[in-house]
Symmetry: D2
Subunit: 361 residues, 4 copies
């Protein structure tokens, strides 16, 4: 199969850098274009990221020399690629409009930006949980008159350390009533330069703007139903989140307390459910699909960010410390790599599904 | 008033070092004796702590030259001081017996050790919350035949970032049904050498042995009632704790979700209650009493360990981010200095109360 | 003595925050005015620093409500105060001109900015080393026609961990030929937001723009002679510096290798010289003068940033590990608080000297 | 080629854990035996390391179930393997004797322990620098009457970030007179548990016992000559080292100042020499040989531990910031992974050379 030519919008930022790194030698996609703000446009990628390349690996050789385009030059970009990964930052309405322009120009848009997350005709995807939401692309195309374009978004990184294990339980027939979760989130979640070192040396910051709301609300859409080509949120599960920032480079940890709505599974049954969990990405052996999707560790002090974030090449969700909760029913610790699983990697896996399902080609 | 001669048991460890530092120039107490394990006995204090002095201040001059005694030489120690602060570590039954020997020898024992925390005739004290529990000392003396001795313990450090604010609400007439709390605890809570640096650089450890149980259960005793000279636990409030270790030197942070049992106060009313909170230590203007006892900060990103742990000379509990909880009723962040408020400082304030109430002299 | 009304320029930045904190209740100076960029002008100080107050203490009550002035409103500011501490940032020529305007308007200027460091009629002061350079203020006034104004600057923070101990040796009659120094500098040296946390978690950055040059060259001026009312650099000592950034909040550490030019003192003699070192600030018992100015620690693993930066209220230079050097003659470790001794505190001590010497009143 | 059965002594410690991890699927060697102290003997490897496994990867499956042997059971171990990697700790004379017993029993010994580093008939090897020293194995065998056994040691990790670049210059015809080096060493250099987190949060420790001496002296032996089957140290280059510990997991950084003895190469020539450097391991394409051996980075702020330690799978030496030195001739920053290049990986590469040269089979 010839690789699909793709572009990365916002390619010079922290998530953009992960995109070009993770997509190096990807079997489905070939990065042929990088775009960013007008300030970077016209420079080679290597020049544009000089002094702010924050990856632990070097810039892929195939990307170094690409000339950065202005991300608002939609028509030009549409000539060169068929799908764009958008990690662009900016004013919300402008982003919304820009992503629509890309789709109208015939491009698939897989976006990290939060602008369209609550647009009811845009699916918000965690690949293992709700791949069937992608089918509303048909409705997008019909309503908008788009032939090949579409818009798909990924949710916030903070919820990805606990929502897949929760989904596994729901799917196994254990409805959940309430969740209280406290996250300990990594520095890279704020991008680069992001959080000043003076705020994180010998310190924790117990606040991340907008993060608790996203952690509490986005699961409702992800777990929602499709009705008339739109996603209808399912607010069955009440969620309360406390989001804090800790001195860790990558890897968001979540301490999760769960109250079931009906039958309460035994701890061993929960572990069994998690270990058996396999979904569309695993069944179709997609390149970025972690296998297994959920890793349960029996050690009493795991998962830990530095030791577990790279499990499944950064795409697995690692859980541990499952135990009874004296207030709700059970509690556990979840962990996922916020930039790989929680941002660029999750979006790439979503795009792989789009290819497999025939929406992107 | 002549200062009361006191001893510090376990004086060479991390908490012991805080004791001798905090007691330097104390208006009520004068450290005349330091004791530790046989390995240190016979050395000067300065020699005994060489290479393991972990304070950011130097050894007080009045302590440097003291010859370390063997902590098991009860009779000798009883000749020199009238009260001991015990930060000794060891096998639980041995500690229990040793502390009883000290009390029988006529000494007041204020202990950081967990050995006697669940002995029903021993009060477990947070000075602002349950000073009235100290009255069971009378029963101790009657039952045991002790003339002047007594045993009093302080609870675990992990619960002190949330229990005082909780008590303030209870006292103001807002009974609480359930609490879910996640703590982010400092390295110094594990003593010295304690947690290896390899475990805390770019990492979080989501487990601390025994800590969650203490955080969940000890409040029941602290909030308990006195009946027949013994403490009867009050298990009205169900508590679930997730305890994690973060790369911070000092200061335990707690993310707290609260469900009230009856009337739910407005957020402003809660802040008012906290700000008005004043208890025995404040009313008697004890030397180590923070004033105010609870500090509420309005900034959206406080309290933070490095910036707030030293409030009230390390004795205040700092709270912030009070907001509505979509699952329970309210949630907030609490913080206290685990070694000062949570260990040595809290014990010293307890001893000050004992003096003021006439039990120690 | 009535306190001298002073202003702080650049008051909202990291060094400016230290100024207003350190000057709280100062016996000589009273902060009556805070100034910053036009963006902050017109706001109360508390509003202007909201979200970027990075001190571990709160804003002094006397400063919270001050209305921030525009730092370029020289005439207005000159009406309210007699001396300004300048921590303003900006284009070099503009700073130079602005500081001259302040002096011309009759104000003393004590500046942290590097703009005038190499102006030959401006003294660059480390209080213990070259207070006599302040006498060229007379020449400044004569040449410029200033009646009461003057400009004095402080040097870079990076050299303050080793230059005072070096000066002590020079003064004791041990000329030095060559110095090789490697610094491990704290995050706060780069201000706030400064160094991104992603650059300093589990990492060291072996480069700080312009820092090595300053560390190598500024000592030449500080150790220089006054000739015809100007400072003539003394380049006798060749210095080579490697400056690195480490994950530490405050406290610059320096590993120093020294080759003497003539007689080589014994190690004990060097310690004696350091311990006996006392200079103008100590002799006049100035409020910010550390006593002693140099602290030698005998422990094999000191000085350490967290444990020694606050020695002498952050104004002492702490040295240790003096030993023979197999290549040069001796080597040692030095440490000083980069923001207190190395910036705001050092400037305040300089201003105290200016008062004592009659230049500021 | 059938893989050579090897054992790892001290297999449960930090370096031992790296050995079993790095040797997983090695083309020359197969770990068939793990040995440690009597306390671990008899347990499965997984049991023996429970709670102290400190790698970011899991235990290799082929190792988990191996029963740990007592490292002093030389005869038993000699039956199962032909070469041992020794990371055992203990009293120096006991280690010396034990390693001799292994060699006498017919085993090759490649040791991380410092016990035999100054034994003149034992070569101390950095594979790129002095592979020809391995030839004294012939003399070892002749003198001791060993048929197949030998003892080879690797040097301290602290010198490996600068000695290979120095050797490249020597070999290119630029003799060196003096070196002053300051190291910023990672936590893992002290093993596990190693340095307490309380010593490295917001702190640097400017002392590592014995490290400066090793850094200054071991290069003399490594750069020495073979005479009469023994290594004669070459003390031509005087070296002075300042060794400090910084809050970094892995990766020792060195700031190096160099004075040449004769001709002084241009900076570009030095970079050329480093980039062209290739030695025995590269020429024979050994499995663990990094290619290139020395990586020069042009960015002004590299190398950095977190970003560069894994270059060449942790086996490369990364250098940067080459510039003129105002005191000596040139200065630069070097970096290497202290556990891979500096310990287990370097020893494995040495063993690969031993196979290639015919000493191990």
């Amino acid at each position: 199969m010839a690789r699909i030519p793709v572009g990365v919008l916002g390619a010079t930022g922290a998530v953009g850098q992960h995109y070009v790194t993770l997509l190096d030698d990807h079997p489905y996609f070939k990065v042929v274009l990088v775009a960013a703000s007008p300030a970077s446009a016209g420079k080679s990628y290597a020049e544009a990221v000089a002094g702010k390349w924050s990856m632990d690996r070097d810039i892929p050789d195939s990307i170094r020399g690409l000339i950065v385009k202005d991300a608002s030059s939609v028509a030009d970009i549409a000539k060169e690629c068929r799908l764009v990964f958008s990690a662009i930052e900016g004013q919300k309405d402008w982003i919304k409009e820009l992503e629509i322009q890309y789709a109208a120009a015939g491009l698939g848009v897989v976006s990290n930006n939060s602008a369209h997350r609550w647009t009811d005709w845009v699916p918000m995807i965690i690949p293992e949980i709700n791949h069937q939401h992608l089918d509303i692309i048909q409705e997008q195309r019909k309503t908008k008159g788009w032939k090949k374009g579409f818009i798909v978004v990924k949710p916030n990184c903070s919820l990805q350390s606990y929502l897949t294990p929760v989904h596994a339980l729901l799917q196994a027939g254990y409805p959940i009533k309430r969740i209280i979760v406290t996250t300990e989130q990594a520095s890279s979640g704020a991008g680069y330069p992001g959080v000043p070192s003076l705020d994180l040396i010998d310190n924790v910051v117990p606040f991340i703007g907008g993060e608790e709301e996203k952690t509490e609300l986005e699961p409702h859409k992800i777990l929602g139903l499709i009705r008339d080509g739109m996603v209808v949120s399912d607010e069955t599960i009440a969620i309360s989140a406390n989001c804090t920032r800790v001195p860790v480079t990558h890897g968001h940890l979540a301490a999760v307390n769960i109250e079931f709505a009906g039958k309460v599974p035994e701890l061993d049954e929960i572990k069994r459910v998690w270990r058996a969990y396999s979904s569309y990405p695993q069944k179709h052996r997609l390149p970025f699909a972690p296998e297994p999707a959920i890793i349960y560790r029996e050690e009493e002090n795991r998962p830990q960010p530095r030791k577990d974030r790279d499990a499944g090449k950064g795409m697995a969700v690692v859980v541990g410390r499952l135990r009874k909760c004296p207030v709700f029913h059970v509690k556990f610790i979840g962990l996922s790599h916020n930039i790989i699983r929680g941002a660029a990697g999750g979006a790439i896996l979503t795009a792989e599904m789009l290819v497999k399902m025939g929406y992107a080609r």
